[in-house]
Symmetry: C2
């Protein structure tokens, strides 16, 4: 029996979803609420397996609700449920540990399937949402194979720069003279086309050299 909590401000939809889910074999709706203002309490007392969470709700909305729950409970599966598949909300929800992201236009049968999937550790997503998620991945892309031809040693130095080490500390860490560190760093700056530690660090992050 999958125990479900439901957060949805629209009374019709809330009723409808409750009926659908609670009326289905193997599902049990423990409660349905119009916003997340008491979600911390509700989750800890009802102990649901899955939370169906609308994003746009007056009062405490779904994203805030998500955060609140995730601050204390990493166990329950949270399925975001919205009308729009807009990039910003998707990203924010997933960043905050949502387990899935599905659109309200999802047909009932599919919805139940999704809940089931979420309950068993899956990550159900509407196709259009999944596509956007993947796009985000490729956007934060590595300029393929672009490590700027840094030599092994230079990469090591850059790693340590990123850790905030000073020249002196790097020298100690690598058992080489500080002057050697300097010449490595000069070479790194050349290759990365930068001329300061902070730029090098920034570039290392941006281009995932680290």
């Amino acid at each position: 029996m999958i125990k479900v909590l439901l957060y949805e401000d629209n009374p019709q939809l809330r009723e409808g979803l409750t009926m659908l889910i609670d009326g289905s074999e193997g599902f049990n709706v423990l409660g349905a609420f119009k916003n997340c203002s008491n979600i911390a309490f509700e989750v800890s007392s009802y102990k649901p397996d899955v939370i169906l969470m609308d994003i746009d709700m007056p009062g405490v909305n779904g994203l805030e609700g998500l955060r609140i729950v995730r601050q204390q409970n990493t166990d329950v599966s949270i399925l975001m449920l919205t009308v729009f598949d807009d990039n910003k909300n998707i990203f924010e929800a997933l960043q905050n540990g949502a387990n899935g992201y599905i659109l309200k236009k999802t047909p009932p049968a599919k919805l139940l399937e999704y809940i089931q999937e979420a309950a068993t550790g899956g990550a159900p997503m509407t196709a259009s949402v999944a596509a956007q998620v993947l796009k985000m991945f490729s956007q934060i892309n590595i300029p393929a194979g672009n490590d700027y031809n840094l030599s092994e040693r230079e990469k090591q130095v850059l790693q340590l720069l990123v850790k905030g080490y000073s020249y002196k500390m790097i020298a100690a860490e690598m058992f080489i003279a500080m002057d050697t560190v300097r010449s490595h760093i000069k070479k790194i700056y050349e290759k990365l086309h930068v001329n300061s530690k902070s730029e090098a660090v920034a570039k290392a992050f941006r281009d995932r050299i680290v």
Copy 2:
């Protein structure tokens, strides 16, 4: 009619998949190859809608094949097909613009459904893969709402530090004295618990303050 190219080193599986897909209504397998050594040519001559790509292949493997295709063609949908849902390959594939990631144990009917989904711009993923993708998202997470209580002004300064600006340049940019920049930076260091520019920059990236 969905035009499919297939890359799979195992002869049995290659045959089997070809039969399955080509034998199904609405699908057409244009070709099936045992590795990606000629993929650039094959893709440009066959112009498939979907590529089914095994990852582990001798010679030019699936990830390399993916990269090769994406270097010239952003249009075709590429579905990665593997035995294991190991984190590293998933991440790498998605980074390089794969459109989906499904396991070989996927039942035939589901497989066809996935190909269809990929062809129409979706991003089919096996549930376990989707779950891992989401986990990656929340791993690269912001310590929720944690901007270390930087004031507006301090954030601005940090932004410029990240851009590699020197104190002097920041002062000029913000129309304030260098000493003021200094005191802002001191405050920033305090709040971030660091004591150098490069550490601050690294932290800014890690915690997405920028």
